[in-house]
Symmetry: C6
Subunit: 79 residues, 6 copies
């Protein structure tokens, strides 16, 4: 597979929910990068996303799904 690191630091474990949420966002973005490696194209598309409510909502869904996995992996950061 195209050699893009898909899971930063190769772990789902983070110390806080905030870090976990940011990991979920990164994971979602890296899949977009995997399918569209051209950074200029991706920047153009991000502007499209930002201005299109339907696309914004699609991003929200992906992050929600990725975060569900990250949160479970971290046992919801319950000490």
């Amino acid at each position: 597979m195209e050699n893009i690191e898909l899971i930063p630091n190769n772990t789902l474990l983070t110390s806080t929910p905030e870090e976990g949420r940011q990991l979920a966002v990164k994971m979602a973005r890296l899949i977009i990068k995997l399918t569209q490696p051209d950074e200029i194209e991706r920047k153009k598309q991000r502007l499209l996303y930002a201005g299109d409510p339907i696309m914004l909502l699609q991003i929200g869904k992906i992050v929600a799904m990725e975060f569900a996995t990250v949160a479970k992996a971290n046992n919801y950061w319950i000490k």
Copy 2:
């Protein structure tokens, strides 16, 4: 990453389902803010959402997904 706090108070734990539901709504909104930092643009889009049944339903899906994670983190607020 753009320095927007994505998880208010950096915790998924709330004292009641109602607070958990509101957290889920906030989490969904903060991802939209992350992708579209311009508040005026976001306000315009919210008017679009409110008037468009398909978009309203997309918001419903995101909140349902985020709430599933928050509810699980709080063990469904079962005492």
Copy 3:
């Protein structure tokens, strides 16, 4: 947040699956109300939903997701 009660009676616990399903429907509707507070506008949209198969199916998805959470919270009403 706009002061709409998002979780009726602030609990996910119900005595039967039927009540749990109805709670899931209410939870989905309350998120639509949160985003579109205008009741007349919502009534107009409900007529749109009822006549549009794609929108009907989107409602089905949201209820399925909310019900998954409510059912789990009630341990599937297994005595």
Copy 4:
């Protein structure tokens, strides 16, 4: 809420996966009935669904979600 029984026999428990799958289909259909009580209108829409690949796929998603909940409630019918 409109008095339509949303969960046949008010239980998620079935004796086999096949019955569980059929329950999931019924649950999905009852939500459509809840939003569109007019049977003639629903029959018209079912013809639309049957002829439209995108709508067929949306039904597939709803049934998959409802079945995930029913299967979990029945502990995957593992004896």
Copy 5:
């Protein structure tokens, strides 16, 4: 309900992940068959699916959801 067997062999248990994945695909296809019993119509639609990236991706989502249920039922085939 139309007498189509929706769960082949009335079980979610398979001996390997590969069989589990194929079961998930069959389960997804059987719901399409339930809604569109006409085989010629379904074959026409499959050609449509195969040529339409958006529809292909919708199929991917359904299979992913069904497989999540099948995999859980088989405890991820962990011996």
Copy 6:
């Protein structure tokens, strides 16, 4: 069923999250291959995906769902 291997090495177990993520991507791609066996057609479609933000986001959703299953199968790679 068309004899395409849908789960590489017939296992969901991987040694790291990165490998698990790549497996999730492969699983998603193999379902597209199952529905559209023609490689030239698939390559054309991949170019479409890469240039279309909505399709890119749909891929993100599928990978997120498949990864949720793979991560759970590997107990989130927690030692």
